[in-house]
Symmetry: D2
Subunit: 334 residues, 4 copies
């Protein structure tokens, strides 16, 4: 299948391109970026481009939209551009997007294959309601992705409440998103919109489909988001109240969590490992960046606490979106 | 009054010395350290010594214990040495200590003057029970100090539960406590014993005296402690369930918190400021390191969340202990 | 004397304001910034403003130029705005500027009081040639300032050649000048225009006045400039070939260097200390930021090598400029 | 061929093990470490061990020496242990060592295959003089390795003098070699013994064999070594005086440098790339860590300046040593 990557020169776009190198199902046909980069070979703009794409000439967004000529699209454009572009493309082509533009639409899933694969069914609702050939599937915000993968195995114990404090890497802010002088030797407990996203996206992802739309999970999620001087890898300190279960039960649930192992998705990795002290620099590349590391599990009363860390650009963005596309192909939606 | 600093060459000891420079009530008579440093001028061992103490000859612990000759002692020795040394000294002299050796003794207060000044009364129990002329007053672990200063103004709203995730500075681990390779570009969610200390010391400090001993506060405190690549300043993300009160009430309580303003303690500073985005590099030196910065206050249901940051070596160690001594003098215990 | 600070909200402007707090000769009358900040109290724009200036209302550049009403001006505006503004102001008022706009003019000195105080005489040439009441005095680029203070004591040994590699702090790039993602866990051996400045400004500063203009020093200066993950403090590795002198001679020259000690300038500090291992975090605040630390001196053949570190915003910018103004007052040019 | 790695759990040892995974010529037979680790599976001690060696039981040094049973040895033990161990082993087996113990012996080469492959001939002198079956081949100190690879292509232009300032990564100090508090937000211009090593090892490596021993290169090398807050990758600012050649000539020499391309050594990579702004975080993994990046080349008079960066644990340690062994096999010394 021929695919295009939109916003291919940004941090998330580059990660898409890297992960698509040598992909058995998807062949990168077009790398799409702004006018400024259009016409130049990809390897000239992105110094550490995979060799496979170094010579591929970048296409401008305008030119691409006139004649996409691909079977599916990965979108890493900024949210401001994405709403219109995605809707236009979805008339004909499936769109897998990291942008938040459509995440909160009633008929658009925020998909994490290991957590809510059934939400993919919403694309039928989209197609019917909007009269599209294609569809839009979003992946969550980066810290939400890491959090929900760790919460998924806990659903069986009855999640009642979640408090989470994040320690997020600088690459989550984009290449120029954060001045060195701001975060050097510092922790910045403010990331615009992030806490709202974690609180609401998590509840949508962990919700259930009912009558063609999603009913958010009924428990409270409360988040404090901070930025720390780490390159890649979001770390999260989680307090979760569970209705039942012991530390041993929960640890066993973490360790055995492998919901899609049998599907044979090319990019799939065991989504979660349990380790004594999860740390972003040591664990962010586990499972080629798709595995989150959980550890420090303890229990006090009905509240369990643990720490989870995962790669924000892979698990939390491009890698998750790629898994979404693989799942859609496997389940016959494409 | 003549004072001695024990462990004067370590991170906390140096902070004691710096804060005692030019103190109106206390004159540093002896700087005590290990045999290795004994006999050398303080300024030779501690390159950035205040000029006042640069020429003062360091005394070995053994020599000091034979003939203390001071009116009170500040102790920054490691816990392993402290139990015995403190008990011997307290027979004659008041000891204000950063070591944890006696923190959990029934008749020893963990004192934060702005939070539990009444606990100082326990020294009478000590004197009576142990037959001492002096006494022992401890200050809490560094992250506990920052946390309890922020919780103190919330007591009036009925604290029901506290979840706290800390992001602690490297200077909290001592000069050689943490290899650069461990924490560089990383978050380490493990600090030995720290979570237990936060959970138990907080409840003791916020508890009440009853029948000559302290009844811990009745609410649960649950902590996840992490180390981040920051030099000084512990930052804490706090979720606290309160029985009553609005965001405005709580913010007003934070802003007006100034419990000892009228006592005229020489080192006293307003213990808490409210600011939009508290950050260790920007706020750790507020109030000469004794003021914590609180911000990001929000409410969801009965759970309030906020962030607090404070200087671990000052508010969380030497500065707090110095305030303890000033309070004891002011209230006539010395 | 009434003074104004232009560009008072930037990194260098803030440093001017901080250093002028409580100054015995200069009273800050106007804080000048862009339209965006104009009309707001300084303390609202600059969170860590000194209390003295917190309430002072910021004046826009346009408004200021219409009626300066001050006796001298400190300029921290960007170079692009500075040429025209400085020339207009200098018609009436002395201007001490950190901008590079006029540094390379034949009749404008790049002044470092401890190094080339005699160059101040050029302002007479300016006044005569340009018909000004005021004048323009520049201070050098930040890394040049640190370097020339360390080279000044070596002139007596006959400097023949200088090779210098700089390791510059992120605050030298301005608040938003450097993305966190660029310099995190990295060294960036490129700072636009920096090497040219070091090479040429050093030779002008160390040159001699002849016939009303400066003859640059006759030796080669060759620089490699890099950016490192340090907040403040530029560190420089220097190889200097000297015609004569031993290690002892040179060290003695470093240690005794105190050229203006008798002038009684209010901001003057001993400009150089010799220490075993100069380090930016440990030494950048020595002498309130005006003292550079030199160390690691060794000799091999006729080449001496040493390391020097100094505060880029103080010694290398606002502090140096303030000293320039004090010298001009002391020597009767104002 | 069966190989052993001595000191397999340290920073350099782990790098040897990682590079030997799946090696076509060498099969890791024994992983040797201290008594403390002996008997445990390698993957238990080294969390991120390659899967291939995870289950391999660590052998104690004492046990190994009794019966090595391998065809060659890679040594990553500390220098203090190495002299005796290496000499004992070399009686029977070739030893490729990162330790400095024998580097300065007259009949032991400091080998960088791309720079001085002919020095390998010294092992015949060793065998003859010492009566050994095996031999000892050392690789240089990490910063010397990076420097000499960049100097090798310049030999044809007549090197007359080298001044180099290094900015070295923290992993060069070993896991616990550097406290976080020392290097955080800092540059430390002191690394014990490093400057002497750079100056003397470079001249030996770039020297010529004459009468069975090495005559050091006749030019002066002068180094200033600093530590910077970077994980991996040593960066070096180089000033080199050349007898002849233009910038274009030198750049062409850098770009075409590929001395062993035809030998077919399994680990060989192009040893040098030329790029605009070489940076440790961006370039340290080029050529699987064996390629150094050179850039910023400029000329002033007869002095050329440039910057080079390379991976200290690979190019500067284990990777270089592995190449040494491959060369020795290829040229028939083993």
């Amino acid at each position: 299948m021929k695919v295009a990557v939109l916003g291919a020169t940004g941090m998330v776009g580059r990660t898409f391109v890297r992960l698509l190198e040598g992909h058995p199902w998807f062949r990168v046909e077009k790398l799409v970026a702004s006018e400024r980069s259009a016409g130049r070979p990809y390897g000239e703009v992105v110094e550490d481009s995979p060799d496979e794409f170094r010579g591929l000439e970048i296409v401008s967004l305008g030119e691409f939209l006139e004649d996409p000529g691909v079977d599916l699209v990965f979108n890493a454009l900024p949210a401001s551009l994405s709403r219109e572009v995605e809707e236009k493309l979805a008339e004909e082509i499936p769109v897998f997007t990291n942008a938040r533009a459509h995440r909160y639409d009633e008929d658009v899933p925020i998909l994490v294959p290991e957590v809510n694969p059934d939400h993919l069914g919403l694309v039928e609702v989209q197609r019917e309601r909007r009269g599209w050939e294609g569809f839009i599937v979003t992946n969550p915000n980066c810290s939400t992705a890491v959090l929900t993968v760790s919460l998924a195995p806990l659903r069986e114990f009855g999640i009642r409440r979640v408090h989470v404090a994040t320690m997020q890497a600088v690459s989550g802010a984009g290449f120029s998103g954060l001045p060195a002088l701001a975060v050097h030797d510092n922790v910045i407990p403010f990331i615009s919109g992030e806490e709202w996203k974690i609180e609401n996206e998590s509840r949508k992802i962990l919700g259930r489909i009912k009558g063609g739309k999603i009913e958010p999970a009924p428990f409270e999620v409360s988040a404090i988001a901070t930025r720390v001087p780490v390159l890649h890898g979001h770390t999260e300190a989680v307090f979760v109240e569970l209705a039942r279960g012991s530390v041993e039960d929960v640890r066993e649930a973490f360790e055995s969590f492998d919901p899609l192992g049998r599907l044979g998705l090319p990019s799939y990795e065991k989504p979660l490992i349990y380790t004594e002290v999860p740390q972003p620099r040591l664990h962010r590349d586990r499972g080629r960046g798709l595995t989150v590391a959980v550890g420090r599990l303890e229990k006090s009363g009905r509240v369990f606490k643990y720490v989870v860390t995962g790669h924000n650009l892979v698990r939390g963005a491009a890698g998750g979106s790629l898994l979404n596309a693989e799942l859609a192909v496997k389940l016959g939606y494409i």
